[in-house]
Point group: C2
Chain length 351, copies 2
């Protein structure tokens, strides 16, 4: 297969700017490798609410379903954040999209760039050599359990629920990747308190039996929040439920000092979505200062997913070339910063 339908959802804030660079680069890849990428744009997030009243219009969902992969920018807008009573919010669009497409696994690789190690809030000797792959379950748990508010009574609840079938696929994926790496999976849970965590532990143990060469470890989420800072090198593959994954993966993302470089993939049985880890960063919108590399490396994960291995490899090399030559945006080099578009073009040209 050499022709691909890519759904493009630029989203809010700096989303459109960084996605533009990914498109530029995908065009360069298409040319270099003789592939064809057809891009179909969809509205999503605050942008979509302003234009259609809905954070995820049906048309956008249809575009995504019909795609080979979804390239996504960022979501979120301060005018909604500061209004907790808003009944429609941008984030709902992303949550609905994950659910509708069945994107059960959110995957975040965390690598430390030696040329950027000084940017980290942590000491060099703590983080040098860190290489973690996080699998977060993405379509169940407390995010999607029953929610209820009784304003009158001043009472609310959110139910965290898991069925075995929602746990098994992401755990298998984690073990499969661990086999290709340092062969260690750590389940992060709170099994000393939660029934759902005990279910996760049980299932992880069962699945581990099928991967005898992979070691399975358990860690309580409170301890994990400490260990990630004290000694991140102890982790290889992490697997965890939705809410713990949200917290732990964001915590992990800052230890390298390069959140503007970190990509993610959200994978389902028939669909997949690729997005940078950073948010919509509205303060930077339209200024040309946003770092496009997280989006570009998400694009590389998309190429992996589409099994375009050579192109993915080439793209990663090009990004490393840019970083090593300090051809980067102001967040990584405020002495001689390049713009979002300059960095994108530099990478595209190298390809």
């Amino acid at each position: 297969k050499t022709n691909f339908n890519i759904a493009v959802l630029p989203g809010d804030g700096i989303g459109p700017e960084v996605v533009d660079e990914s498109i530029k680069i995908l065009n360069a890849i298409a040319e270099a490798f003789r592939y064809k990428f057809d891009f179909t744009y969809g509205l999503m997030g605050a942008e979509a609410i302003y234009k259609t009243g809905k954070p995820l219009p049906d048309e956008t969902l249809a575009i995504c379903r019909a795609s080979d992969a979804v390239l996504f920018g960022a979501i979120g807008d301060p005018s909604f954040d500061n209004n907790p009573d808003a009944k429609v919010r941008p984030e709902q669009g992303l949550l609905k999209l994950r659910k509708e497409l069945g994107l059960f696994a959110n995957i975040r690789p965390l690598k430390i760039y030696s040329s950027l190690i000084d940017k980290s809030p942590l000491k060099k000797e703590i983080i040098d050599g860190t290489d973690i792959l996080i699998f977060r379950e993405l379509v169940s748990g407390i995010y999607f359990g029953e929610k209820f508010t009784d304003e009158e009574a001043g009472y609310a609840y959110d139910n965290c629920r898991y069925h075995r079938d929602e746990i098994v696929p992401v755990v298998h994926m984690a073990f499969q990747e661990a086999q290709k790496r340092r062969k260690k999976v750590t389940l992060i849970d709170k099994a000393n308190v939660l029934d759902t965590s005990r279910l996760w532990r049980k299932i992880c143990k069962e699945i581990a039996a099928g991967y005898p060469e992979v070691e399975l470890d358990f860690m309580f989420v409170d301890n994990a929040a400490m260990q990630l800072i004290l000694n991140p090198k102890q982790f290889d593959v992490i697997v965890t439920e939705n809410m713990f994954g949200d917290i732990i993966s964001d915590e992990a993302s800052v230890i390298g000092g390069s959140i503007g470089l970190l990509p993610s993939a959200s994978i389902g049985a028939d669909n997949a979505l690729f997005e940078p880890i950073h948010g919509s960063y509205p303060q930077a919108k339209g200024k040309g200062i946003a770092n496009p590399i997280a989006s570009v490396l998400s694009t590389a994960m998309m190429l992996d997913y589409l099994k375009l291995d050579q192109a993915a490899e080439k793209l990663r090399q090009s990004v490393e070339h840019a970083v090593d030559n300090r051809y980067v945006t102001a967040d990584l080099n405020n002495q001689q910063p390049y713009s979002t578009a300059e960095v994108g073009s530099f990478i595209a040209d190298y390809i």
Copy 2:
């Protein structure tokens, strides 16, 4: 009042050793300030399971109820952790004690000791001057909501629920303390996803109206997990629900590099419990290497609670004297380490 009944629950692992030093020091305080402390010991945790079959025997609960304050060591034993099927676990004792005594607010002050700043995994310029006070709701939320497992169906849930009355007291306490400090309260929640978080936000806003000189901020828990590492100095008082508090307060505890020094208080309407932040650290049990200072500073929080301000002040000075003179255990000075008992005696003698 000069006579006090103190319930003493040494618990597991290094708990008994560090609590011994607190008792030694309380005896020194009793002498210096002419107070009388009566100590009544109770079983709790793995220790209690081995001896009585229950993690919190009724007798222990009665001792605690009858006390002016509870001094607690640590809980947890690896033989239970590695057996997720165990029906009785040490942690259940602590959770039950919190619930029975109505200890709704867990309070953790986080200060950076300049003489120990090099111990931190974070860079000096990031953490220098950090001073955070965390309030965690301790007797509701997902910890105490309905739990359910259907082994056959492979299904489980944990319900996270909050009633207004469970939120109001800890939020008031947070605002009251903020008034004495830098006048800023940050609510950590996930209001873009959870109904319970939106309830917390609403109530915090209402309560904030009664404290016009205190600024109220909101931060999503995933972002908070990043901000604590990127810029801990931005926080003054943090208030949050039970599970987020568990994760965030443990994360915060490592940024100063001195978890062996950090105390906590758990406060209810009629009872209060004081314990170090660190766990039972079973590997160190009986070796005389455990750092007693977290327990000793928890004792200082107990003296605050009992309104023995002068004694509390004197105790804190004595601890600082020990730390500044590097009269500390191996975790803080492995060149010339002192034993648990030596550090305790040094502090007691200074009083």
